[in-house]
Symmetry: C2
Subunit: 387 residues, 2 copies
């Protein structure tokens, strides 16, 4: 929870963007943006809910399911009269849709002809939600405002940086737990149980929150499939395991990946890990505020090209406050074509993995841009790990 | 992983529904439905991906991100030539959208004028995804097919029932762990760490999978907010804790909720729990195949009305195969107005919680419909728990 001043400042900056783009009403359905503006925090994004900002009203409104309005009273800075709800008969009903209730609320507020910003590319704003809003408000104009608030989130406040640092401590502790738990003969799921335990128990002074992505630790030939989840297979001698986890504190993430070999790495894995490490180190050393994201990626690209490698996927992305299914902020990516200019206190997960058909290597860090370069926030030996 | 015969049978039944509704191409973006039809299983639903069924082609196609195509090769029964991908420059890009690539694939297949079914009310099919498809295929007709496959999933095969039973064993073990871990002076997150450990370690013969919802265990006055997540607050004497968890095996869920009091329950909580238990027991005893969902709910409604209570939210829903953010199937709900007829091997989570402004009680079970009544699959003492 941040100070009311910090939340009010975030709302003010959002309204500035609304004014620039001529938006009268902004409907925020991305749970990370809802949290950023109001503090709202509950596992209720599986039903329709939103934060509504009216350009001519000081305080936002929260609207969601009746039983979740209590969570809004508990977790947001909003006055109770700004916490509204729809009834339970709208929940997952084949005949009624919550956006009917939202459209009615907008009519009641005199916004039936408004220019309404919606987050069209957001997991929790379905195609049907837009259709229902359009049906209920035929004279309104709907404008795609998908990343408006996401972009405001990119530069973190000092308090946010402290949260990510706390998450980074959990990430390092969890990575050590993972490496200690993964043994020849151990089941994958038993290692994951220890990983979860470390993520959530956190430290003796603060607890851990749930990361937006489950622990990912493909092993053996499955290291070529970075998003495959665990099984109850037992680890075998000489298995390679790619461990990608995050620490999470109050919804702020610090992701971290390492590659572990249970025995002797193959020549291929050893060579590839050297290429990845060299590229990662060169890239981190070159980062400067004022650069663009694509300039960062080009350092990596040139480095691995010297070693005869080419990788056609992005090598990182803006990270911070998030909810499942993704801990990325969906704004800047470290890739060719991204002209975003780096500023102090932007935070990124740089994850320059290389995957082939039957093996892969990932080594990653979470860093923030400083006034002179970058500060790596995750603190764990940066190398191919063998045991 | 099920037999190829079982998957083919699911595809056949889907095509029957497509034929009935005049759909030439079905684009399945709900990860649970993707898994149901092909076995696909990876944490990759945070980027656009789908299973495409052409009515005139025997085998479905999987289309997603290039690096996830390896997961499709690993987890589905599809031939490699039916596993297609788009390149990484489409990922979370402000200037390109993966549905452009999908539209091109559909044109190439000669489907530019097809009647195309899409899951409009699905977390992973955004408003923008539909707009991009409409833009890329201006002569196609898009039809809402949101629950077509979900409804096919309602009656489970014997193998699916075995999976849910395995999940129920994990649920009971996890509930015991929760009750053992929650103590006066313990931090909430430390109890959750133990809960996660139990969920994922599973049993000595099979491992646990990640449930689609995090452990929910609001305590104290937060018991009025069922979806609020944990903090690092320490439990206090006489706290009420509502514990809602699931066991998960191979993506199949068995949810289970109990209410725990650390000390002496207040008169309010004790009385309310008796009402809930009486209502739950009467309802479970009355369930028969051939009844409608609303008839089940009316038993509960009548039972609590005798005790002077009224609850305006649904008391349960169809459950089974699922991915975050929800373990419900989004088809039948146990509520007034739902005319779905119960059939053997349908599976439900019945969760008749009652919440007031500052307290609440939840006691739930997962059950299947049998030929003569219902079988409760979760096996844990059905009572208000005190310690």
């Amino acid at each position: 929870m941040f100070s009311k001043t910090e939340y009010m400042n975030r709302v003010r900056r959002t309204k500035e963007q609304m004014a620039i783009t001529g938006i009268d009403v902004l409907l925020i359905t991305n749970p990370s943006n809802m949290n950023y503006l109001t503090g709202y925090n509950a596992w209720s994004f599986y039903v329709h809910q939103m934060v509504m900002i009216l350009i001519d009203e000081e305080e936002p409104r929260w609207i969601g399911r009746k039983q979740d309005a209590n969570s809004a009273k508990e977790t947001t800075w909003l006055q109770n009269k700004h916490i509204l709800f729809y009834t339970d008969d709208f929940i997952q009903s084949p005949v009624k849709h919550p956006m009917e209730a939202i459209a009615r609320a907008l009519k009641k507020a005199g916004k039936e002809k408004a220019r309404i910003g919606v987050e069209m590319e957001n997991y929790y704003f379905t195609a049907k939600a837009l259709k229902e809003l359009e049906k209920g408000l035929p004279d309104a104009k709907f404008i795609d405002s998908t990343l408006m608030v996401n972009y405001l989130r990119m530069v973190k406040s000092e308090t946010e940086i402290q949260y990510i640092k706390k998450a980074a401590v959990i990430a390092a502790k969890t990575m050590q737990t993972a490496i200690d738990s993964i043994e020849v003969g151990t089941r994958e799921n038993d290692a994951v149980a220890e990983i979860y335990h470390a993520q959530i128990s956190g430290t003796s002074t603060y607890g851990g929150d749930y990361p937006a992505i489950v622990p990912l630790l493909p092993s053996g030939t499955r290291t070529s499939s970075p998003h495959i989840t665990w099984s109850d297979r037992r680890y075998e001698k000489d298995d390679t395991v790619i461990i990608e986890i995050a620490g999470c504190y109050e919804r702020y993430h610090a992701p971290l990946a390492r590659t572990l070999v249970l025995g002797t790495p193959s020549d291929e894995v050893r060579d590839l890990s050297e290429v990845v490490l060299e590229g990662l180190n060169e890239t981190l050393n070159a980062i400067q505020p004022g650069q663009t994201c694509e300039e960062v990626e080009s350092v990596w690209r040139d480095s691995i090209a010297r070693n005869g490698f080419y990788k056609d996927s992005r090598i990182g992305y803006s990270v911070g406050l998030s909810y499942p299914p993704d801990w990325g902020e969906h704004t800047a990516s470290l890739r060719n074509g991204d002209k975003t200019i780096l500023k102090p206190n932007m935070t990124f997960h740089i994850i320059p993995g290389i995957w082939f058909d039957d093996y892969g290597v990932e080594i990653s860090e979470t860093f923030r841009i400083t006034k002179t370069g970058c500060e790596v926030l995750t603190n764990f030996p940066r190398k191919l790990i063998t045991k």
